[in-house]
Every structure is written in C-alpha cells, then in structure tokens.
C-alpha cells in the first residue's frame, strides 16, 4: 500500500498487514516530528504539503524499485499531509521479506529515496516564525535571507 494521508499513521496495523508465512523478517521505519530548539525558540509542529498525484506515483515507483532490487514480498509506505505534532509519525515504511538483510536494506533505501524524489515539502513552524526545510525560506530571523 502506498498512500499520502491526512490522518495519523497506524503503524501497528501496517505491520500486522505485512505478516506472512512466506516471510521471516519485517523491517519498519517511522519518521517522527522532532522538537528542535535554537536561540530560545522551539519547533511547535510540522506542516507537510505534496504535489499530487505525482507524489503518490513516486511512492509507488519506489516500491517497484525495491521489488526489482531485493527479494521482498510486501512494501507499504504511508506519508502524512498537513499538520503533524511533535512525537507523531510523519512517514511509515514497512518491508517484509523472506530474509532480514533485504528487509533492512530496502527500508533504508525507501526513506532515502523519499527524501530525494517524492514531491513533498515540510514547513517547520517555530515559536518565532516558520521555515521551509531545504529551502531555508520563511519568516524566522535566520531564514529570511536569500535561499
């Protein structure tokens, strides 16, 4: 399953859905909102936006790449949109494979590829302004300069 969703991610259910008697290993990666702090300010929440349906298609392409590169039997990727509070999951990747090596490698590959090619953007909303991660564009003192 590859989906971009508004609601919170149910990782347990995702893993449950990946259990299969032809697999011996499930590797899961969950990306969560980390409270960053600097100069007396702190991240209050993140906000994600996506270019859809291109982003949905890119998630599916990553799944297809993984199935070409490794012996895996199940790949799920869910990504949140909108506001994500600290400590909540923004992305969940679940890979089931007969052997653990491919499961680990494929789950790592998935998150690296997501960060390279999937048109999703994250805005950190701080107590003193916001910043678009990666572009350094925003309203915080440090971020207001040229990109």
């Amino acid at each position: 399953m590859f989906a971009i969703v508004e609601e919170s991610l149910e990782v347990g259910a995702l893993i449950q859905g990946a259990l299969s008697p032809d697999c011996g290993a499930i590797a899961t990666f969950v990306g969560t909102t980390r409270i960053d702090e600097s100069e007396g300010a702190a991240v209050e929440y993140l906000e994600y936006e996506a270019y859809r349906p291109m982003a949905d298609r890119k998630l599916e392409e990553i799944g297809a790449e993984i199935e070409r590169l490794w012996d895996v039997r199940h790949v799920s990727i869910l990504h949140r949109l909108g506001k994500v509070d600290p400590g909540e999951a923004s992305v969940a990747i679940v890979v089931a494979a007969p052997r653990r090596g491919p499961a680990f490698e494929a789950s790592r590959y998935a998150i690296e590829r997501i960060k390279e090619v999937v048109p999703i953007w994250k805005r950190e909303v701080w107590s003193d302004g916001y910043v678009w991660v990666g572009s350094q564009v925003g309203t915080r003192g440090l971020a207001s300069g040229k990109p």
């Binding site: 994600y48 936006e49 270019y51 048109p119 572009s135 925003g138 040229k146």
Partner: protein
C-alpha cells in the same frame, strides 16, 4: 495557456500556488523560466535550487512545453 503550479517555499515566495502563462507555441522549460520569474520576481533568487515537472514528471531545461501542459515549480523536496 500553460498552467504553472508552485509548491512549498516557491509558493511562499511567489505569493500564489497557481498561475497561468499565455504561451501560444511550444518552447523549452529553460525558455519558460524567464516568463515565470518576470511574473514573480521574488522567485528569481531561488532558481538554482528549483526542479521542474511537466505533466507530473521531472523534466530538464531542454524539455518541451506546450499550451495545455501543467508545469510544476519544485523547491528541494523535504518529505520524511
């Protein structure tokens, strides 16, 4: 007309998420950029960080765009 979608920091700088450019004939993405930057001057300094998509797929500067196409202006992605 070519529909131009803007995302993330690019939408922020441009002050809009969507615009239309009255392009009559085919041209390349590289030729389209000055028209976008003229309409939204605050985008100009971001040029080197931007990627583009034509009709939902990444495209390079020499890619052709024609009336009816959807062009997306993509700042560095930051999902995950």
């Amino acid at each position: 007309m070519i529909k131009v979608l803007l995302f993330g920091a690019a939408a922020d700088r441009a002050g809009t998420r969507e615009t239309e450019l009255p392009v009559e004939a085919g041209l390349t993405l590289a030729e389209l950029w000055p028209l976008i930057a003229e309409r939204h001057p605050d985008l100009a300094p971001m040029r080197d960080t931007l990627a583009f998509a034509v009709n939902g797929e990444y495209a390079r500067g020499d890619a052709g765009v024609s009336p009816g196409d959807e062009v997306a202006v993509l700042p560095p992605v930051s999902g995950g």
